[in-house]
Amino acid sequence: MNSKKRNRSDMFWGYLMVAPTILGLLILNIYPFIETFIRSLSKTKAFGKYEFQGLMNYQEMFTSEEFWKATWNSIWFCVLTVPVGIFLALLLAVLLNAKIAGRGIFRTIYFLPMVVAPAAVAMVWKWMFNAEFGIINSIFGTEIRWLTDPKIVLITCAVVSIWSSVGYDAILLLSGIQNISPYYYEAASLDGAGKVKQFFCITVPMVSPTLFVVIIMRLMASLRVYDLIYMMVDQANPALTDAQSLMYLFYRESFIAGNKGYGSAIVIWTVFLIAIVTALQFIGQKKWVNYEV
């Protein structure tokens, strides 16, 4: 086959195959994002009218104590959830991959949070963590204010977040682990490598492409966390400012206070943060992600 012709045909098929996705993304997602960007440079008035005003919103934002607190809360939430959550998910995936009797039941149990609506998850956890009526304080005989103590509230949210995502992440990792050829393990066993060594020398490198996806997804989700905190910490909670993430602040500014320009600036900042973290991941992946299977 003529290579020039082949290139042209590749181009044709390449564009054709990405077209629906790219078009859809441009209309559904990128256009709203551009609009958000323009809004962030504008003074917004009621009902979508706005006028350009330069960097005023950013100036206001960077001098706001509440904003920096929310930035810190989002990062802190990431630190609380991502390393622990990913480690547990990987461990769980390996354990669930073990050839033991009854693992089907265990898999079912661990993936169970995926089939409950997040609204219901938040409802039952909020109920269990309730300082007065909750079962958790009652079991441990404690009087901890899980949801209203400023120092504890984000940790509580992180626990719930890990609880609901660990099975989700494990299922992804498990599909990666199951694609690893058993010959690698057999060879390693013959060489006398123990389970722990096999985990770090075979499982982690071999599952690294999937692991990379999971880490990226989890980081992005944690940096823009909103629903969970919104459902666990309502607006009358005195610990609100200690739990309020960037997207929660965005919600309150844009949707409740009607301050869309300022809210848009918060979104741009959040996306900027996520972009930096993601870029670092993509640079870092060359050091540890292994695509040669």
Binding site: A46, F47, G48, K126, N130, A131, E132, F133, R145, L147, T148, D149, V233, D234, Q235, A236, N237, P238, A239, L240, T241, R252, F255, I256, A257, G258, N259
Partner: protein
Amino acid sequence: MKKQVKRILSAVALGGMLLTAAGCGSSNGSADGVVNLTFQIWDVGQKPGMQAMCDAYTEKNPNVKIQVQVAGWNEYWTKLEAAAIGNKLPDIFWMHTNEILKYADNGMLEDVSDLIETDKFSEISLQNAQGSDGKLYGVPKDKDVICLVYNADLFDQAGVAYPDDSWTWDDLISASQQIYDATGKYGYMAYADEQLGYWNFVYQNGGYILNEDKTKAGFDQPATQQAMEFYIGLQDYDWCPDQAYFGEQAPGTAFLSGQGAMYFEGTWNLLPMLQNNPELNGKLQVAALPAAPDPVSGDGRATISNGLCYAMSANNKNEEIVKDVLKFFGSEEAQRIQGESGAAIPAYEGLEETWASAFEGYDIDVSGVAAMFDYSVQSVNNASRPEWKSKVSDQLLKIYSDQVSLEQGLANMQSIIDEASAG
């Protein structure tokens, strides 16, 4: 390979067809002359009452069908605003005092001044439905006041006399203390809420939150400051839970679990409370709010009164029909249907007893509620309220948790409202 392309394409196309097929039936206006209108509300509990009103209208006008749709409070406003921008507002929708000025002043709502007999509605009801220009942008729907809800069982156990019209703030404190000493349960639960909390105390004491022309806040007024200090100070008593407690459960939840004896509740919540919690029957009773013992001005009585209205969009293609529906909604007949459903107290004067009759199956006396309207104060509102509302409540929580002093916090609240109101 063409076969495969076709297969996938036809699968997608089939999917698309199914989607569109499922989408039929929502267009308004059809060949047989029937006009379908949408009516958007935010309270599920009132849906039957609203439906009954619509049915009554359809009975007289068989060519008009009205569909009642319910969205939760938060989604309601998100959706309504998006719809307003896209010029796709529902035909009829509820309007709240928090938002009406924003919608009316930006020309989103139709002037409905001619549709009602204004002498049948109270001044407050009319004000709650007005834009900044004084025209009516909604047909008054209902009116409410804040009342004191108490648990008669806990009062009996502690041997304390039930609250009555003679109560002042001092009685509230002493009764709370006695109940706490005798039963170990909380007394009056002072909650960091505006309409259900400090606003009432401020107006009882002769203070105000917003001045007459709604341009400046009143947190620099001695009467306001005094009432705020009193209200926030209640949290320091053993018989009052702190705000962290309310961060997890509203006072109503604590009340129905028997953990607290008293709290302020809006009249709109009384019937749902009883319906959803049959075990409260007999225990839950209502009284007038305690008066300020030593007001800076006035007689010490006040309760915040709010009210909703029915609004329509400024450019509705079925304008005449929708106006006729709204005219009906504002008539005595429709307001009576609403009252009898127990949904809310009709805004139409003289129909208070229709609402009271909805309580007949319960052991509760709500006959005193009508008298509370005599000294009620219109719910606080100006065009920039959505902007300052949550900021002010953040400040209040900061005062409660000692992150700022009372003086500083009130000064902050003052400047937040003043700046927002200045535009």
